[in-house]
């Protein structure tokens, strides 16, 4: 089998994005756990108040943007491993991108709806 090497950084960017986004989401998870433990949001008012803080909205936005990037790299890896026909893989990759971009947009709408 012959291989064509196409540049020194091939694949590095996705690898790095996956790691950086993982760290951001892990930090958010700890922040979220502490915030929930402190606020104990047992009803709608307290739950809504938690997400009314500007810092909570921005932190959650960082989480969802990281999720978008992280899930893209992960799902792309899975599709590259298991879906051999190029056309089908391309179609599924496009579907994944649409779901993730849609989810990110939806999260902004949820967070900044007054």
């Amino acid at each position: 089998m012959s291989r064509i090497v196409v540049g020194a950084h091939y694949g590095l960017r996705g690898w790095l994005v996956q790691r950086v986004s993982a760290v951001v989401m892990t930090l958010y998870t700890i922040l979220f756990a502490v915030a929930v433990a402190a606020a104990k949001p047992v009803d709608h008012a307290a739950w809504k108040a938690l997400f009314a803080h500007g810092w909570m909205r921005v932190a959650t936005l960082f989480f969802f943007v990281s999720l978008l990037l992280h899930a893209w790299v992960g799902m792309r890896d899975i599709l590259m491993d298991y879906v051999r026909p190029t056309g089908l893989r391309l179609a599924l990759e496009v579907a994944v991108i649409l779901v993730l971009v849609g989810a990110a947009g939806w999260s902004v709408q949820i967070l900044w709806r007054t």
């Binding site: 998870t29 809504k48 992960g74």
Partner: protein, 130 residues
């Protein structure tokens, strides 16, 4: 060129059964499965967040819906998927910087990942869902 006759003698026996995987392999495939599960249920989770923040009425309706045993089971599964994915992910970050790469350490941290995520799922799930 490698000797072709040697290549022919290699046994073609790939045992892909999940339970026969070495522990780091089990953590690895569960990391992939949990990640895929989280992706597939992402839109449902966003819907839950949307409804829970929308109004007191929808929050109350959601509490009723999620009280169903099947909903609790799915949430418990997702909780495990998230916790396992994070624990295994932290392990991979350490492996990236060459911490814990020898066999004994790799096995020990694999057991830790499996155990911590299962125990945390039981404790958190028990506290949040029941």
């Amino acid at each position: 060129m490698p000797d072709a006759s040697l290549k022919k003698k290699r046994p073609l026996w790939y045992n892909l059964s999940l339970l026969n995987l070495p522990l780091p392999g089990l953590v690895s495939i569960l990391h992939r499965i949990s990640g895929a599960a989280l992706f597939f249920l992402l839109l449902w989770l966003l819907y839950l967040l949307d409804a829970s923040l929308a109004s007191a009425e929808r929050f109350a309706a959601l509490e009723q819906t999620l009280a169903h045993p099947l909903a609790k089971l799915v949430l418990l599964g997702l909780l495990w998927a998230y916790l396992h994915h994070v624990c295994a992910g932290v392990r991979y970050l350490f492996l990236d910087v060459h911490k814990g790469v020898d066999l004994a350490a790799a096995r020990a941290t694999s057991v830790a990942v499996l155990a911590v995520s299962l125990v945390a799922t039981a404790l958190l799930g028990g506290w949040l869902l029941w």
